[in-house]
Symmetry: C2
Subunit: 153 residues, 2 copies
DNA sequence: GTCTCTGCAAATCGTTTGCACGTTT
DNA sequence: AAACGTGCAAACGATTTGCAGAGAC
């Protein structure tokens, strides 16, 4: 039903490929983003690896994520009133966002007439992103929303 | 090439229709959002109408916009690192966002396989939004970006 | 050796909130 | 009269920044 994101990423090679300096913190951030294959806030990433780097600062996580975004392989998702979520975006994909529990689900493989639209507007396309908002399967069924509330999404 | 948004809106009727209280500030905010048919920040709306209401507060603009979003006829766009832009969204449409100058252009009329995706994921759709990022016609041509920089978009 | 990254603390800035007062219903 | 909106100032919270020291190249 959906392509699982079972491709492996070598953080060192990725950083090298994009001409970014290779530091333990960056490797760890990339590893975690890849491992969870999910949409993490800066805060979540910080907590996930702070054991590994006792002196780690949230600012470093933000700065690092910004470097990744500038490089182009991380995407910032700003949905709801909450903190941004960051998404390793090596394979383009789109999102289903639950308005009740905040859960974000990926989907791939969709044909969009992007070129046609771009041509009509003389627009040079770099990225595109389709976001569908509504209720996820769980929340439709009247399940209490707190089940999803604190999960990593 | 694009449907012009030349429909007229009666703020009073719109507020009435959605069961919201009719106040001069709300009427003015709606009038301006409709008049510019563009994507304004709360700050821009504030400055646009503060002459009319010398005692107006930015907080009121935010509160009002939030009420409109809850009602469902205004959409909040969070693109780039900047403040949210607010978009009168009576006719569903999508956006071309220029990464250089920040200009946002609308487009309508696109067939998306939303139902198919929703069915595959057992997702109940409320809204959807396609965002295309890249370079607008002006910025591709190497025009200095400051031409667009401060325009209302 | 140079340049960049990291970590800390403080600053920034968009947005929200509490409360007293005014307006709409 | 009751309910809600407005305006003010203060609070909030996510993100950014300046700077000194450490690490990558």
């Amino acid at each position: 039903m959906e392509l699982s994101r079972d491709y492996s990423i070598d953080p060192v090679l990725l950083l090298k490929e994009y001409g970014l300096r290779i530091t333990p913190q960056r490797i760890s951030i990339l590893s975690h983003m890849n491992q969870y294959k999910m949409h993490l806030t800066a805060e979540q990433i910080y907590h996930a690896i702070k054991d590994e780097f006792p002196s780690l600062s949230v600012a470093t996580v933000y700065n690092t994520l910004k470097a990744f975004i500038d490089a182009g392989f991380v995407k910032e998702l700003r949905v709801g009133d909450h903190a941004s979520k960051f998404d390793l975006n090596l394979i383009p994909h789109h999102h289903l966002v639950c308005e009740k529990c905040g859960h974000i689900e990926d989907f791939h493989f969709i044909d969009l007439p992007i070129d046609k639209i771009a041509n009509m507007h003389n627009f040079h396309v770099r990225h595109y992103h389709l976001e569908i908002n509504g209720l996820c399967a769980n929340c439709q069924e009247g399940h209490p929303s707190y089940i999803h509330q604190n999960q990593i999404s």
